[in-house]
């Protein structure tokens, strides 16, 4: 779950990281008032996307009138399909040097890692490729309380010393502590700027909290004003997606949700994890047009599987649904068969017509096949591969 810049800076401020003065403005009038108070400002679109500068989401203003005009423009610009929620008006400062600091997990080392560079403000992957001596990677333990010397090592490793070393050590150490404390998967400050007066400030920040940890940090999220159903995906959720998330959250037994809407006509109920990725690829390879991606797994209850099926069947664009999974181990064929048949019927459809194909072999399949026989649903067993089953469903749509 990505934080807006102003939220990330709120976290930094709480942990004593020095920042420029700033005000969040939702309207041109509020931006003008901020400029009257702060003097010349930089106005930054508050949007959950990178590439703000290129898209025209960052502008400078010397007067309140200029700030109002710039804010009106910025609020109109969607970046990568996302609308800004406001503009951050921040006092304009003169920067003499930019640094980069980020903390994330390295899945290979299985440890958190600090990435630090004295070439901030530009694409860090480019620095890593072209100027590796200007970038340090410093792993640390997530099990021990964070110690400042680790941040110092990260900063010193690119050759920084003197006052900058000490100021940066404090900032990077705070960033690492924030990262650990709030279950973040990314905590980045880019750039950290040294000003003409020698002060060192965090100028922009990007933070991601792990979705699984949201519940743990409910109190903080409430303080920051983040709603429970604000999923902060790379694009805003559709009503179909929101409804699926709600039914998944309403019943803790297994997963039935995590739905992403597409513009096709074939509704998909396609297992969880890897099986769902494989089958989504298979449907597209066969020339099919999915109406959705979703997940069912971890043995959802019959009522939960039924609720998801009903929701998908009720979408006007969904002509048929395909119920397909890899050979299942713990999710049971009979339980899913009960759920999808019940969901179809509750949505007012005949399962034998609405379900293009049912391909879930594995645990309790004889029991599941008995249920499918009773309701006349077309099913195949494991002798028909996932790719073949997907192709059959697509062929039925074209018939």
């Amino acid at each position: 779950m990505r934080f807006y810049e102003y939220e990330a800076k709120d976290l930094l401020r709480r942990h004593g990281v020095p920042l420029p003065q700033s005000r969040l403005a939702h309207t041109a009038e509020e931006a003008a008032a901020a400029a009257a108070e702060l003097g010349p400002v930089v106005l930054k679109s508050q949007v959950l996307s990178g590439g703000r500068m290129k898209a025209g989401g960052v502008k400078f203003a010397d007067t309140p009138d200029e700030a109002a005009a710039a804010t009106t423009e910025i609020l109109e610009i969607a970046i990568n399909g996302l609308r800004p929620v406001g503009v951050l008006a921040e006092e304009k400062r003169t920067i003499t040097q930019e640094y980069f600091a980020a903390v994330t997990y390295d899945g290979r080392a299985k440890l958190p890692v600090i990435i630090f560079s004295d070439m901030g403000g530009i694409d860090i992957e480019e620095v890593a490729e072209q100027h590796p001596e200007h970038l340090s990677r410093t792993h640390f333990s997530a099990a021990r309380p964070f110690s400042d010397y680790i941040a110092k090592n990260a900063v010193a490793a690119v050759g920084v010393t003197g006052n900058d070393l000490n100021a940066l050590t404090r900032i990077v150490a705070s960033l690492a502590r924030i990262f650990l404390q709030y279950d973040l998967t990314l905590a980045e400050i880019n750039p950290i700027g040294r000003l003409d007066d020698g002060a060192i400030l965090a100028l922009d920040s990007h933070m991601d909290m792990e979705a699984e940890a949201r519940r743990t940090h409910q109190a903080l999220l409430k303080e920051l004003g983040v709603d429970d159903d604000d999923n902060r995906q790379a694009r805003p959720p559709t009503p179909f997606e929101i409804a699926a998330a709600q039914l998944d959250a309403a019943d803790p037994r297994g997963v039935a949700g995590n739905l992403t809407e597409f513009d096709g006509n074939l509704g998909l109920i396609i297992g969880a994890g890897g099986g769902s990725l494989t089958l989504f690829d298979a449907v597209r390879q066969a020339g099919g047009h999915p109406a959705n991606y979703c997940e069912i797994g971890g043995n959802p209850s019959v009522s939960k599987a039924a609720a998801l099926t009903k929701l998908i069947c009720e979408q006007p664009k969904v002509e048929k649904i395909a119920v397909m999974m890899n050979v299942v181990s713990n999710t049971r064929v009979d339980i899913v068969a009960r759920g999808v048949i019940k969901g179809c019927i509750e949505a007012g459809f005949d399962p034998s017509e609405k379900i293009a194909i049912f391909r879930i072999p594995g645990s309790w399949e004889e029991e599941g096949f008995a249920i499918l026989d009773r309701y006349g649903v077309d099913y195949v067993d494991r002798s028909v591969s996932m790719h073949e089953a997907a192709a059959r469903a697509v062929a039925k749509m074209q018939a």
Binding site: S303, D334, R338, I341, K342, I345, E367, A370, I371, R374
Partner: protein, 73 residues
């Protein structure tokens, strides 16, 4: 209305309060509940959740708790 599962409880079960309580405890999907009188009853919305785990009919003397699969009838 349950579409797939029916559970029949023999009257003999009701004469064994310990067994009634045990049925409530063993069922992983809460199909059984105790009435105030101490009689055990089934919870209609949970019937279709039955996983056929056998814990209920194994807990009772043979034939006293029967889980009926309506799709096999």
């Amino acid at each position: 209305m349950a579409m797939f599962i029916r559970v029949d409880i023999d009257e003999a079960v009701q004469r064994d309060p310990a067994l009634c309580r045990q049925l409530v405890e063993v069922c992983p999907v809460d199909i059984f509940a105790l009435e105030e009188s101490g009689r055990v009853t089934t919870v209609e919305p949970n019937l279709d959740e039955c996983t056929l785990c056998a814990l209920c009919w194994e807990a009772a003397p043979e034939g006293q708790v029967n889980v009926v699969r309506l799709y096999r009838e």
